[in-house]
């Protein structure tokens, strides 16, 4: 699989720590986008990740996104008492007891769930679109962190697997506690199925047809699980 993209932006633990020290990311969070880090050019603030994509979301959505990611970074990175850096518990979690793929998945899911729960506790509903995209950024950051910390440099396949696992953990936990509307998602599936049968699946879920081809080419996707 060669679809996992990379960019040439330098990054590193020291840069992350520097960002923590500054504690002034673009949204005021203590994440790896802090001022000192930006000054070092380690992780330029913001942007669309070099993909050239133009944001197409509302300011409110972007604001929620920024807050979600920044707060997730607050969980990942410490700025306590000048001992800036990655929380050791997070690094330990990323090790996954010898299974870094599992570690990445569970860590990402846990942090996303923690942020979402906390938001819900304060009466803020995070839109699913924000959750998906913000969760992806956090997941990617953790994958980078896992690599930079020398824990593991997961292959594209393993990274993708961890992504699905993280989604699984989150979805099943949220379903178990009743925070997901099963009926709403069932209707969504019907909408998707109809679109698929009409040959316009990508209109509903951009990139889904690519996923179909991808899995079919892998010889899977035949329902034989």
């Amino acid at each position: 699989m060669a679809d996992m993209m990379t960019d040439d932006k330098p990054s590193g633990l020291l840069a992350r720590a520097a960002g923590q020290m500054s504690g002034n990311g673009p949204t005021g969070g203590a994440g790896p986008t802090g001022g000192a880090m930006a000054a070092q050019g380690a992780r330029p603030m913001g942007g669309t990740d070099g993909g050239g994509d133009t944001p197409n979301v509302t300011p409110e959505e972007q604001h929620l996104y920024d807050q979600f990611v920044s707060n997730a970074y607050n969980l990942i990175y410490s700025s306590d008492g000048g001992q800036a850096g990655v929380r050791p518990q997070v690094l330990e979690s990323l090790k996954g007891n010898g299974d870094p793929r599992e570690g990445l998945a569970t860590t990402a899911a846990m942090i996303a769930k923690r942020v979402a729960d906390s938001a819900a506790e304060s009466g803020v509903k995070i839109d699913g679109a924000v959750m998906l995209n913000a969760g992806e950024e956090v997941f990617n950051d953790l994958a980078d962190l896992q690599k930079e910390a020398g824990i593991a440099d997961l292959s594209d396949e393993d990274t993708e697997a961890a992504w699905y696992q993280a989604l699984t953990l989150y979805q099943q936990t949220a379903t178990a506690e009743g925070s997901l509307d099963t009926q709403e998602f069932a209707q969504d599936m019907q909408t998707m199925a109809r679109a698929d049968q009409e040959g316009r699946l990508d209109e509903v879920v951009p990139g889904a047809s690519q996923a179909v081809e991808r899995f079919k080419s892998m010889g899977g996707g035949k329902g034989g699980v």
Binding site: Q62, I111, E160, Q172, V205
Partner: protein, 281 residues
Amino acid sequence: MSSVAKGVGKVFKKVGKVAKKVAPYALAAGAVYFTAGAALGVTAAGGWGAVAGSLSSSLGLSPGLTAVVTGAVTQAGYGAAIGAAGAAITGGDIGQGALYGAAAGAVTGGISGAAGIGTDPLGSGTGVTGGNAAPAAPGPTGVANLQPPAGAATAPGSAASYVTGGNAPAAARGGGGLLGPGGWLERNQTLVGETVKGIGGGLLQGLSAQDEAKALENRDRRRAGNYASGGGLLDRAAVVNGARPGAAHPTVEEKYAPSHGYRIEYRYNAETDQVDRVRVA
């Protein structure tokens, strides 16, 4: 359409920069997969192992979508590859094992995970230690454990009981895990001071909590300075904006019997952290 599926087409300005990225098709597949799981209500009570093979009948999925969902299931390691062994390890419920992390290693091929060793990545280091865990056993580091919500933790046969062997008290589950009483939040209030408190009160208010923490820090520093010798608020030299530099106090006339139509007051200026001498009409 739920916003999860709509989220695939949305482009946000990133907060940070990342090198590794989930492939676009994986983002789409993930959205479909997530939606299917939520639609089917896949939880510890069911699991992908029980439903993924009958997606067409259960959800009326088209072949394409079925391919996506089952492909993601397989890719995630919840598919046929784990077979009976995985199901046995997870109590016949693959989803259950995946959900709570204790057997996640087994699900994904790592048998070590079946020991149920878990560490709350943001906890104090006391984590789930598996079915035979002693209540006070310090949790070794290991597979991160996504603790079940408090409600699920008490249900007979629930995943929580699975994780802890069914009989372990709450203390053995790492003090409530992430979500429950005595969980991560309660155990880590002091980790980053006001920031974590802000998280506890609503993480999305964390920014204001940070600001508050910063303000408190500044306040404490000012106070410390005030009581330090050779400077600070109580030092005469601190009065630098007065009409008469070096004079910390107004004259009696200035204060009580102004003959010039105004009186002098000294007001603390939080912006400059100094005392300003101001004329008051």
